[in-house]
Subunit: 125 residues, 2 copies
DNA sequence: CCGCATCCTATTCGATACTG
DNA sequence: CAGTATCGAATAGGATGCGG
């Protein structure tokens, strides 16, 4: 349930930036994936999202909270312990993310090929 | 097959801007919808996308072309006649768009409610 | 009819440094 | 540990006007 997140969870060679889909902002989809099998702490999330700055992660998490996809829970104690977990509404997005990944599995290479071909034939209109 | 596009096709009251998903840029998803049941002309596309400027529409269409989702065909003659149609790859996105709409049908109101509630309780952290 | 050229604004993302 | 504050670069999106 709470095994550590794989730092290689998001392949840098196939960043979701190449995907024709986005959920929320640049990081939202990956954050939701990270929360798929249990609550995670702020700094735990920063591991797979290797270079995310705290400011940007905070912003994405606040948006997810505001929209009811995620709840934030702070337990008293020092050092601080803050956890983020998906709500049922947040979990309702997982199916769509799966569908998107399935599409990518099947078709993304076609997009990359088309892009490659387009950068070859440079006949600007 | 080529009945005119409904100018009210995209409800201004529920713009896709509120959706937590995006395909490509702001207009891409709507363009693909417009092309779902047959080729369409440039100016035909501008109708349901009421306020789109030609520059922006062009940019989105070029991106769709580059990625292999759409093909552009220009028939000789004056005035010009340019049509855009989905490729099989482009059509492969329709299922995903349907799934996204189904999700929205079922859950978007929860998001809006959550957003509403959040704007009520203003306890900034 | 189908764009392109220019200019402008707002937002997004990130780097860096600092705090309870 | 979990953020906040400030700054800067890049990009998206749009308004307007011209051109083949």
């Amino acid at each position: 349930m709470t095994t550590p997140l794989d730092p290689e969870m998001f392949d840098p060679v196939c960043p979701s930036g190449l995907m024709p889909f986005r959920v929320g902002d640049k990081w939202t989809g990956m954050i939701i994936q990270c929360l798929a099998d249990g609550p995670r702490r702020f700094s735990e999330l920063r591991v797979p999202l290797r270079n995310i700055t705290p400011k940007v992660l905070t912003k994405s998490l606040r948006a997810l909270e505001r929209d009811g996809f995620v709840v934030r829970t702070e337990s008293a104690g020092a050092p601080r312990h803050v956890a983020y977990r998906l709500t049922p509404l947040g979990r309702s997005l997982l199916g769509l993310l799966d569908a998107a990944r399935a599409w990518a599995q099947e078709h993304l290479h076609e997009v990359l090929d088309a892009r490659e071909a387009a950068s070859g034939s440079r006949l600007p209109r």
